[in-house]
């Protein structure tokens, strides 16, 4: 390593892989962690302390469904007690008003509530369960508490036609922030990609609508969205760069540079049960592997954008080319861009743009 080790800003804490939803684009790995393997309350509390000491400012408590942890209130208190800003990323499904009051009282700063769409029938289809009606009930509660609220909509081929209804739902909710996340193709979404990837005209329409909403709602609701990278000219700065800003802890304590990193073969990820977070962040082989620019080959190595997008996403490079050190193939400069062009061409070649039948989905199951 020639570059100084950067300071991480956020800790993504996957508290559990258990979840009442079975979303067809879930970002959890195909191999889910079992309940018995999950870190204990005390182990998480130590991780939060070590993260704060390392300079981390924010903890994102996620899953699976983090509310599936009966000790969630204690975990929020521990994270806040370590002086972290605490976000809860939830489906809202196991939430009732008493529990909301309890977790806000424990120091929760920010609640991010996910939606699978604006229409009940299709939202339930993508979630693989009847979740939508309860989410609408939950939406009525946060305004009575001093807690930040983000609505997160995962958007894709099957629900883009209802984008205006999603925006209207967010406007009526009193949320301070709305996030429209085009599906990213890892994990379960990679398996269901053919049914999720939008057409070019769907995408263009959605970007026009979102841009208009962003301008119109400025000062009222912060509207954020990301272009799906299969359609981008340059790759995303995945996780802000490998081992640069974010570290993720899986339910059983593995420390990863990103959600999908376990797909890359030959990597050994250290566990917080055996090593301190500082050791893992600063010197573990996995975090050093793609940190900085040493690992890059051309065209990244001499590219003007290498300090902007860091060569894109390592997991995507592996999933699409078989080589994790390749230039992210979504980049228009990548030698393997043709692989992405073929996938995009197939998505635009007149296969049904309508939502397919339920039997076609690969649903994410619940871990044992």
């Amino acid at each position: 390593m020639t570059t100084a080790v950067p300071q991480p800003l956020a800790l993504v804490a996957e508290l559990t892989h258990r979840c009442p939803l079975h979303c067809v684009y879930c970002s959890n790995p195909l191999e889910l962690a079992r309940r018995e393997a999950e870190l204990s309350t005390q182990e998480w509390a130590r991780v939060f302390q070590e993260a704060a000491a390392l300079g981390v400012l924010q903890a994102d408590l996620t899953g699976g469904e983090p509310l599936a942890r009966p000790d969630l209130t204690a975990l929020i208190r521990a994270a806040r007690g370590a002086d972290l800003y605490v976000s809860l990323i939830t489906s809202g499904l196991p939430l009732d008003e008493a529990r909301l009051e309890e977790i806000v009282g424990a120091g929760l700063d920010h609640l991010q509530l996910s939606f699978q769409g604006a229409r009940e029938e299709s939202a339930n289809e993508f979630a693989g369960t009847r979740a939508h009606a309860h989410k609408l009930r939950v939406l009525g509660w946060p305004r009575d508490y001093r807690v930040g609220l983000t609505l997160n909509f995962v958007i894709h081929r099957g629900n883009l036609a209802h984008l205006e209804e999603m925006i209207a739902l967010g406007e009526a909710s009193g949320a301070g922030r709305m996030e429209f996340a085009h599906v990213q193709y890892y994990g379960w979404a990679f398996a269901n990609r053919e049914r999720l990837l939008p057409t070019r005209s769907q995408l263009d329409r959605s970007l026009a609508i979102l841009k208009e909403a962003e301008t119109r709602l400025r000062g009222k609701i912060r509207v954020e969205y990301v272009v799906p990278d299969y359609y981008a000219r340059y790759p995303k700065a995945c996780m802000g760069g490998w081992g640069r800003k974010i570290l993720l802890i899986t339910p059983e304590g593995s420390a990863l540079p990103c959600h999908a990193a376990k797909v890359i073969p030959g990597m050994r990820f250290e566990n917080v049960r055996e090593r301190s977070l500082r050791e893992i962040w600063e010197s573990s082989a996995a975090f050093c592997k793609f940190r900085g620019e040493e690992w890059m080959s051309e065209p990244c190595r001499s590219c003007d954008r290498r300090a902007q997008d860091f060569g894109g996403c390592r997991c995507q490079a592996f999933l699409l080319t078989g080589d994790a050190a390749a230039t992210d193939p979504v980049c228009s400069l990548a030698p393997e861009r043709k692989r992405v062009d073929e996938i995009v061409a197939a998505a635009n070649a007149g296969r049904s743009a309508e939502s397919s039948t339920k039997a076609d989905w690969l649903y994410r199951p619940n871990p044992a």
Partner: protein, 92 residues
């Protein structure tokens, strides 16, 4: 929007200063943190729903007595408008 002088800015739900013991001082908000330097920290720590915009301006003009008072006022109004646009601030 430019805030009115008699309005009382208050950090929006989900936005807060980090603890006094921590360095650097930052304004924490959903999915981001804004680093605060001397004057911006003085401004944000007064966005408590009690100080009016007028009072914040007067306080900062005293603290930065060597600076042009008109420029201090303009900078504060601009900064409050920016925080409002980013949904970090409500005006009460």
């Amino acid at each position: 929007m430019t805030p009115e002088l008699d309005q009382r800015p208050r950090l929006a739900a989900g936005c807060r200063l980090n603890e006094k013991s921590q360095q650097p001082r930052v304004l924490q908000m959903p999915e981001r943190a804004l680093r605060l330097n001397g004057p911006s920290l003085e401004i944000v720590s007064r966005c408590d729903g009690k100080h009016t915009v007028q009072q914040i301006i007067a306080d900062l003009q005293k603290l930065y007595a060597k600076a042009d008072p008109k420029k201090v006022e303009g900078d504060i109004l601009g900064y409050l408008a920016l925080l409002h646009e980013r949904r970090a601030l409500d005006f009460e």
